[in-house]
């Protein structure tokens, strides 16, 4: 199959029914995309397929033919959302983080808290209770890179 992966054309030898998740992790060696449930419930394997967030465990390779796929590796190291996830402690164990970030990238401008919740409703996090993730995403959308404000009383 042939597709664009993080801006580069990629050709891999994979059966049409192979899961895009396995193509990315095994054939392409990009292990930043994680498997959490294998049935599209947890969102840990979220990538962008032609700009839309999808669970790569549910996408057959044939569906990605000629498409543009972006994974967490495609963001490099300097995307502000990555740094906000670190600073706000939106990443605890980190296994949901790549999928969570990819899902958040699809948000439109000026989202409300409810917009963020809806956009991330398909991504499970068991560590954070989501609060720190909202703080990271809302700050990113507001262009605010200030340090976290959590403080004790």
């Amino acid at each position: 199959m042939r597709f664009t992966l993080n801006g580069h054309v990629e050709e891999v030898d994979a059966p049409p029914a192979a899961r895009l998740l396995d193509v990315l992790r095994v054939n392409c060696g990009l292990t930043g995309t994680k498997e959490g449930c294998g049935e599209g419930e947890c969102g840990a394997c979220t990538v962008l397929l032609d700009g839309a967030p999808v669970c790569s465990c549910l996408v057959p390779a044939s569906q990605a033919e000629d498409a543009a796929v972006v994974t967490i590796e495609g963001l490099g190291d300097e995307h502000p959302l990555q740094h906000l996830f670190m600073n706000e402690v939106g990443a605890q164990c980190g296994i949901c983080t790549p999928g969570m970030i990819m899902a958040a990238l699809a948000l439109g401008p000026n989202p409300t808290l409810d917009d963020v919740k809806t956009a991330l409703a398909g991504n499970l996090c068991r560590c954070t209770g989501y609060g720190a993730i909202y703080r990271a995403v809302l700050k990113w959308k507001a262009g605010d890179m200030s340090p976290p404000s959590a403080a004790s009383v």
Partner: protein, 699 residues
């Protein structure tokens, strides 16, 4: 600027945010095979025959006869086999191991096992298989009960809970000269090491290395010893690296869960609300093997009276065997179960007295100078009233309690506490150690305490940096490799900050004295490396008697008060949490943003436990072993949280810190149940699913 108390960048933050952090399934080794576990499909019986119905070319196959050491997963008792020999005691018990280089071929291999089935036992109340009994006795309960103005009785139940760490269990065993190294997703590398040494015998050297771990919550405390043993056995037999990664279904069906509980209360009260006698019976379903049930029961019993003063208290507990997979460690470790019962019971007592539930708690809340059920006299760091008063004030609880009457909204609270560190003499027996190494650029922390998301690396580095008066950035943390780091004990029991952090603080003080004013780098350049290693010295006043369960159960407790506000759909009995206020005192936060994350995350997990997370058991196996029908809170199920961190420093902890990890798990269950009670539903069980609430409403 001091590192402690500030929100420094997580040591592991950027690796996780970029996807570069390597988890077990991200690692591959040359010549690596994939491993698979063939499991029992019955809950009780004996294996009659095993037929391999596949072409065995290219397969490595191992059963109990291949174990070079003892067929035991060593923990408290040596009763659990690594692989079934004949006797099957629960569904999904491992019987046979297969490995192949092609995962598809491996999956397709068919194994037919026939059994002589026996009658299984699933009801803990009918079990005669007693695996641990605990008795805590204080004062004269019977006399006090008969003299009480009012006696309130009740039975409370909690169900299984599945951890749902988003990374499933996984390990890779790799042969190396003379032995095996196991890389794995785990909380306690030295537990796995001990178990592996027993299984592999004296002629195989072993080391264990923790890989980046995608959540634990107790679920990767003891179970990884099992999966590590399986992979090691296959690696030994094949001479090749073997990776075993469970898929979600296998992880949910086969691994441990929170112990279901049945707790009975009989409480005598005076008309003025004073508790005069508490008679409590705790029953935990241990599942098919002992594993950690004795200590889960212990913590459960010690917390069973709740954070209240009562001169006459009897707590009798039992953990029993049934034919389900063994239940095990889960954040809170018995306390969420017994504190659920205690706190729902308190609201029922208030109802019976016609008293405000806040007032009842305020009258009886433990204060400095009071004694707990085990006779522990509390010190100045006891904060029950502090958190209760703040939560009530902040939520305008009494006003809302009135204002919500007659609406579909309810509000309820819970007051709770959680002992930090191992119980009683546990830390003395464990003898944890920690080490600091001088490096060319600073210092390196070398402990077996693991980062599982909670922030171990970061928080330890903050403590060391400030105790050494060096920048946080010059402190590095060694990956836990049992051949390199000191055995600081398991990453459990809210002890990693308070206990291991304290040893590290003392190591840093000793190192600072030896540096005699020079920086680590300058000292290293002139004199070369040195290390400081120390053990833990518990406070000298701790007295504990394991035989009588009397004395100082914990060096300190953390305290919390949760207020749940929710809305009930009167037709479907669906519950929508509106807001959860969590006021918690845990000494002081080393890293406020990390601490906030522990409280928000633990509270969400507690809300799932309260409302959503129902494990359906059919014939001794989890029937809803998928994230499709075992539902944990999503963004849309998780309400707004208002978290308040109240400081009351503990002199025995690093920079005044206590343990925090488990505390937030104890409160949401009873706070939610009490909010539902406010709506007129007599809820005495969780999870409070719509089905359960419909039943409550029809009673």
């Amino acid at each position: 600027m001091p590192a402690v108390g500030s929100n420094v960048a997580r040591k592991d933050g950027i690796g996780k945010a970029t996807g570069r952090a390597l988890y077990a399934d991200d690692l591959t080794f040359p010549g690596m095979l994939h491993g698979r576990t063939v499991r029992s499909t019955i809950p009780c019986g004996r294996v009659r025959d095993i037929k391999l119905e596949f072409d065995q070319a290219g397969f490595t196959i191992a059963d109990h006869r291949d174990i070079p050491g003892r067929n035991v997963v060593a923990l408290i008792e040596d009763d659990q086999p690594l692989l079934v020999e004949r006797e099957v005691r629960h569904a999904a018990e491992p019987i046979l191991l297969l490995a192949h280089e092609n995962a598809e071929v491996l999956r397709a291999a068919r194994v037919e096992i026939t059994y002589d089935e026996q009658e299984p036992l699933f009801d803990p109340e009918l079990s005669t298989g007693l695996l641990k009994q605990i008795a805590i006795d204080k004062g004269d309960v019977d006399a006090a009960l008969s003299g009480a103005d009012l006696v309130v009785e009740g039975t409370y139940r909690t169900g299984h809970q599945e951890h749902v760490y988003i990374e499933t269990n996984g390990v890779i065993a790799v042969p190396e000269s003379g032995g095996i190294v196991v890389y794995g997703s785990l909380q306690c590398p030295f537990y796995a090491l001990k178990a592996l040494k027993g299984m592999l015998g004296p002629n195989v050297s072993v080391r264990v290395v923790q890989t980046e771990t995608g959540g634990g919550f107790g679920g990767k405390e003891e179970y990884p010893s099992m999966i590590a043993g399986h992979a090691a056995l296959l690696a030994l037999k094949s001479g090749r690296p073997v990776k075993i990664i469970y898929d979600r279904v296998e992880d949910m069906v086969a691994t441990t869960k929170r112990h279901p509980s049945i707790v009975r209360h009989r409480t005598g009260v005076a008309r003025d609300g004073k508790l005069v006698a508490m008679d409590i019976d705790v029953l935990l379903d241990g599942g098919a093997y002992v594993t950690l049930s004795p200590v889960v029961l212990s913590r459960g019993c010690i917390h069973a009276a709740g954070p209240y003063r009562c001169e006459n208290t009897r707590i009798h507990g039992r953990a029993v065997l049934t034919n389900t997979p063994p239940n095990g460690a889960f954040r809170g470790f018995g306390a969420p179960q017994t504190e659920f019962a205690a706190e729902v019971h308190m609201d029922r007592i208030a109802e019976a007295l016609g008293m405000d539930p806040v007032e009842l708690r305020a009258i009886n809340a433990l204060a400095p100078g009071d004694t707990t059920a085990t006779g522990q006299r509390l010190r100045e760091d006891a904060s029950a009233r502090l958190v209760l008063d703040e939560a009530v004030r902040r939520t305008d609880f009494r006003h809302k309690r009135e204002a919500y009457r007659g609406t579909n909204k309810g509000i309820g609270l819970s007051l709770f506490y959680h002992g930090a560190g191992f119980t009683g003499s546990g830390e003395q027996h464990l003898r944890p150690r920690a080490r600091l190494d001088l490096t060319p650029t600073g210092v390196r922390i070398a402990v077996g305490s693991t980062e599982i998301g909670q922030g171990t690396r970061t928080m330890h580095a903050q403590i060391v940096a400030d105790a050494l008066c060096i920048p946080y950035e010059s402190v590095e943390v060694a990956p836990p490799d049992t051949s390199v780091v000191a055995d600081s004990g398991p990453t459990v029991a809210s002890r990693t900050c308070m206990v291991v952090g304290k040893i590290l603080e003392e190591c840093a003080h000793e190192m600072r004295a030896r540096l005699a004013g020079s920086t680590p780098a300058a000292h290293y350049a002139e004199h070369g490396p040195f290390s400081v290693e120390r053990g833990y010295e518990p406070p000298d006043w701790i007295q504990w008697d394991d035989a009588t369960y009397r004395g100082d159960a914990y060096a300190t407790f953390a305290w919390g008060c949760d207020v749940a506000e929710l809305e009930l759909d009167p037709d479907t009995y669906e519950v929508r949490p509106i807001k959860l206020t969590a006021v918690q005192e845990f000494g002081r936060p080393i890293h406020p943003a990390l601490a906030l994350g522990q409280i928000e995350g633990g509270t969400a997990q507690g809300l799932g436990y309260a409302l959503l997370e129902r494990v359906v058991m059919k014939n001794g196996a989890m029937a809803n072993a998928q994230l499709t029908n075992y539902v944990i809170p999503t963004t849309l199920d998780t309400p707004e949280m208002d978290v308040v961190m109240v400081e009351n420093r503990y002199a025995g902890g690093p920079f005044g810190a206590k343990g925090l990890g488990e505390l937030p798990m104890d409160g949401p269950g009873p706070a939610v149940a009490n909010a539902l009670r406010h709506l007129g539903l007599d809820v005495r069980e969780i999870p409070a699913t719509p089905e359960l609430l419909a039943e409550c409403a029809s009673r």
